[in-house]
């Protein structure tokens, strides 16, 4: 039998403080720095089907490649602008769309081509470079942004989560925290742990920060659990870390962004939909949608108004449905943007078309712009980085091109 974490804690006469927090998928990172604007980067691991998320219902070839309901029909997508329609699992985002706080960027990709490996694709997405073989870059583009962020010091950048989240790896310090690292100790054990750590300053500092983070997550509890109960709780946290839980994560992220944090990044998994993709894809898109709504709710109108959220994936998926009702690894894909800082309510794309001759390799959506250009223009607008720094340091070798006008 499984018990909810809350049930454990309720059952266990709780007082005080624990490292309990929202169980989530993968890491979150924060960087505190001066300036008022916030950027949240969500990495969608496994290659999100952008054509299912924002469906090009206005393209003459759409029904032929993806037979299915259209806007207005039962189970159909929700119309956005006549050309594109949003997957019904994301209907919860429509209020944001109407308030011009959401955009879709379509037919984009990293420079990665042809081999279509998740491993290499995610490496390239997070490194933000054109080619992994050509250079020995092992830092991520958000970390390189931090290196150009005035006032970003030792204790201002946090990385949260059990996954490496390479997009934030690099020379700028990032403190990692995994909300799913749940722990409940008796008040006595907490005191003894603090005392034991006093033997070593590095341990004492890390322990103090761990307790402080846990205390500040709005779920401050101490519980006298047996190891067996705690074992079950860890199992649940582990399960939660791989399943839904994004809304609780997003609330945690929002709380940090209301404080000194200015940059957050986390991952949502579950996009590699090779077979019978309707259900798993609906679930994953629903989780992404819920996470964004929870971010907005948690941030409050004021901070939301200065926030941009961008969700991106390593590559898109095949245009046609395969023999098992799924899609295989493709090339061009879509990004989802949200936030009060957006000039939203738009599908931003240089649409390539879906007739076979217009496809990449006659199978994938043709990317018509480098997704890094959009990320770079967001950083330019939010944090004031100049074009030369972005093209030289953050995304080496990128040509930023024309401003897509993503922000207000």
């Amino acid at each position: 039998m499984t018990l909810s974490r809350r049930a454990f804690l309720t059952r266990s006469a709780l007082i005080g403080c624990s490292l309990a927090a929202s169980p989530v998928v993968t890491p979150v990172t924060f960087a505190a720095a001066p300036g008022d604007n916030r950027l949240v980067v969500i990495i969608l691991r496994g290659a999100m089907d952008g054509l299912a998320m924002a469906q090009p219902v206005g393209d003459a070839d759409w029904r032929a490649v993806r037979p299915g309901p259209v806007p207005g029909e039962a189970g159909g997508p929700v119309d956005l602008d006549g050309r594109f329609a949003l997957h019904p699992a994301m209907a919860g985002l429509m209020p944001l769309w109407r308030a011009r706080e959401m955009s879709v960027v379509h037919a984009v990709s990293t420079p990665y081509r042809d081999k279509r490996s998740h491993f290499d694709g995610q490496d390239l997405l997070e490194a933000g470079v054109a080619d992994l073989a050509s250079g020995a870059r092992r830092d991520g583009w958000l970390n390189r942004l931090l290196q150009h962020y005035p006032g970003s010091g030792t204790h201002t950048a946090w990385a949260i989560g059990a996954d490496p989240l390479a997009v934030l790896g690099g020379a700028a310090p990032v403190t990692r925290w995994a909300p799913e690292a749940d722990l409940a100790l008796s008040p006595q054990a907490i005191r003894l742990a603090e005392m034991v750590m006093q033997d070593d300053p590095a341990f004492a500092a890390a322990m103090a920060r761990a307790f402080r983070i846990a205390d500040g997550d709005g779920d401050a509890l101490a519980a006298a659990l047996s190891p067996e109960d705690m074992g079950r709780m860890m199992a649940e946290d582990m399960a939660a870390a791989r399943g839904p839980g994004e809304t609780r994560l997003a609330a945690f992220v929002a709380q940090q962004l209301q404080g000194p944090a200015r940059i957050a990044a986390f991952s949502i998994n579950g996009w590699d939909t090779h077979a019978a993709q309707d259900k798993p894809l609906s679930r994953a898109l629903g989780r992404l949608s819920d996470a964004i709504v929870a971010l907005k709710d948690g941030l409050g109108a004021d901070v939301w108004g200065r926030t941009a959220v961008v969700a991106m994936t390593e590559f898109g998926r095949t245009v046609r449905i395969n023999g098992t009702g799924g899609t295989d690894h493709g090339t061009g894909g879509a990004m989802l943007l949200a936030g009060g800082a957006l000039h939203g309510g738009r599908v931003v794309t240089d649409w390539p078309g879906l007739d076979e001759a217009s496809l990449y390799d006659r199978r994938d959506l043709m990317p018509t712009r480098d997704l890094r250009a959009h990320a770079a223009w967001l950083m330019r607008g939010l944090f004031g980085l100049d074009v030369a720094t972005l093209e030289r340091d953050v995304f080496p070798g990128l040509d930023l091109g024309a401003d897509p006008g993503l922000l207000l």
């Binding site: 020995a136 059990a162 403190t175 742990a193 590095a202 983070i213 006298a224 190891p227 074992g231 582990m238």
Partner: protein, 460 residues
């Protein structure tokens, strides 16, 4: 008397104190544990890659059957067979993690286990897809472990020409531009393995090589590839013809083959910059993030003078007073931490190796991940961080504390009395604070957990 401390021999150069196995009597005895048969590997077996390779052969056969029989029952049967093979390999990977822990927990030659971990990380690899993702332990068993105390050049050749490394660093499809295949436009040159050999495995990132050297080495490496039915393979039709010059020395020109690759690797292994790089890395790994320059110099000289004899390097390290500084040294990386806790608890290997898949993931694999180490899935070819600060983060420490107070109890059933365990686990390292916590804890689980989570236990 040469410097020595039996406590540090186990904590700093071994797998931690054990109530079952006494520490060595002196540095000579410690080194002598590297002699003789590999009893830990015999008792806790891990499949060598050459055996693992057969799994790939069978898997690929089913893949061919599947593709040739689209839309039929035979396709479905083949797909099912592949799923079963995938599951078996995943389960095997977990068992091998358990066996690697068991070796550390039970061995009477703990330095050998530490060296296996060190060199496996120095030659970090991982698979990118399908069964290959499960092949890292078999690679270590075959390419690393037999060469721990021989000559570095033999270890280097075994590791960087191994199929798992060849695939990981994109060597498999690298063809010389003027090779028969290259001229047909089938595959081009890939510099990844060549670059990492110089940057990570031999000379070091600041080493005396240029982009031209990388390119020339990459051309020399062309032809080195892998075929599941054969294993490591040299394909002449992929090899770049002609001579290549690496670090001023010329190689090749005759019929291309592995000989030239071995020759350049031997020269790179014997280069003074390699001795410096390896000496520093050993000292940083075993002793301190900021090692005594004299210690590094002694190891470096031993490597150079002995023609890359690894045992001479280890002897130089263990013979230097700085290696025995009583000041607590490095923070144990997550795997070392868990392994040393199991050893101190004298945990029966059955208690963790035989766990069901879900329980094993929950009690071992997932906590390891929360502590910052994703088993056999490295962030990059540079392997795990060495800096203490990489491990003593709020999250890392919380994960260690969480594991310490819960998992030992779950695995062991009965725990030792914390007042005794403080001596078992820490010996003379026990501080008044830890001794107090061992007495004052409300439960055995808390007491044992606080001892394991203490800085005294977590530093070497």
């Amino acid at each position: 008397m040469p410097p020595f401390d039996p406590l540090l021999a186990d904590i700093r150069f071994g797998c931690g104190l054990s109530p079952l196995i006494p520490p060595p009597a002196d540095a000579e005895a410690l080194l002598a544990t590297l002699n003789g048969p590999d009893l830990a590997a015999q008792r806790f077996a891990i499949e060598p890659f050459d055996t693992f390779r057969q799994r790939i052969v069978l898997f690929n056969e089913q893949g061919r059957i599947r593709r040739a029989n689209r839309g039929t029952d035979r396709e479905m049967a083949a797909k099912k067979a592949m799923q079963v093979m995938n599951r078996q390999a995943r389960r095997a990977q977990m068992t091998w993690l358990g066996q690697t822990l068991a070796r550390r927990g039970m061995t009477a030659a703990p330095l050998r286990e530490r060296l296996a971990g060190f060199w496996a990380d120095h030659f970090t690899t991982s698979g990118k897809a399908a069964l290959m993702r499960r092949a890292v332990s078999p690679y270590v068993e075959e390419a690393i472990r037999p060469h721990l105390s021989g000559r570095f050049e033999d270890l280097l050749i075994a590791a960087v020409t191994h199929p798992v490394m060849v695939i990981y660093l994109d060597q498999r499809g690298s063809a010389g531009p003027h090779s028969p295949r290259g001229k047909k436009g089938k595959g081009g040159l890939n510099e990844n393995l060549a670059r990492e050999i110089m940057e990570l495995h031999t000379l070091g990132v600041g080493g005396p090589y240029t982009q031209t050297d990388v390119r020339e080495l990459a051309e020399l490496l062309t032809g080195l590839t892998f075929r599941p039915t054969v294993g490591r393979l040299f394909r002449k039709d992929m090899a770049e013809p002609g001579r290549e010059t690496v670090l001023g020395r010329s190689y090749g020109g005759r019929a291309p083959g592995l000989d030239d690759i071995q020759a350049v690797l031997r020269d790179l292994a014997r280069h003074p910059a390699t001795a410096r790089h390896l000496a520093r890395k050993l000292a940083v790994h075993f002793v301190s993030d900021t090692p005594d320059p004299g210690l590094v110099g002694a190891i470096e000289a031993a490597f150079l003078d002995s023609g890359t004899d690894l045992r001479a390097g280890y002897a130089a390290m263990l013979g230097h007073p700085a290696a025995w500084s009583p000041v607590p040294g490095n923070v144990k990386p997550p795997f070392d931490f868990i392994a040393s806790a199991l050893r101190a608890l004298a945990m029966s290997p059955e208690a963790y190796v035989a766990l069901k898949e879900k329980a094993f993931r929950q009690h071992i694999q997932y906590p390891l991940r929360l502590m910052g180490h994703i088993w056999e899935k490295p962030v990059g070819p540079d392997g795990l961080p060495e800096a203490d600060s990489a491990w003593i983060s709020p999250q890392g420490l919380a994960a260690r504390l969480q594991w310490s107070v819960s998992v030992p109890q779950i695995l062991a059933g009965a725990l030792p009395d914390p007042r005794d365990f403080v001596d078992t686990a820490l010996g003379a390292r026990a501080t008044p604070a830890v001794q107090f916590a061992a007495r004052a804890a409300e439960s055995r689980a808390d007491g044992v957990g606080l001892i394991l989570a203490s800085p005294a236990f977590q530093r070497t």
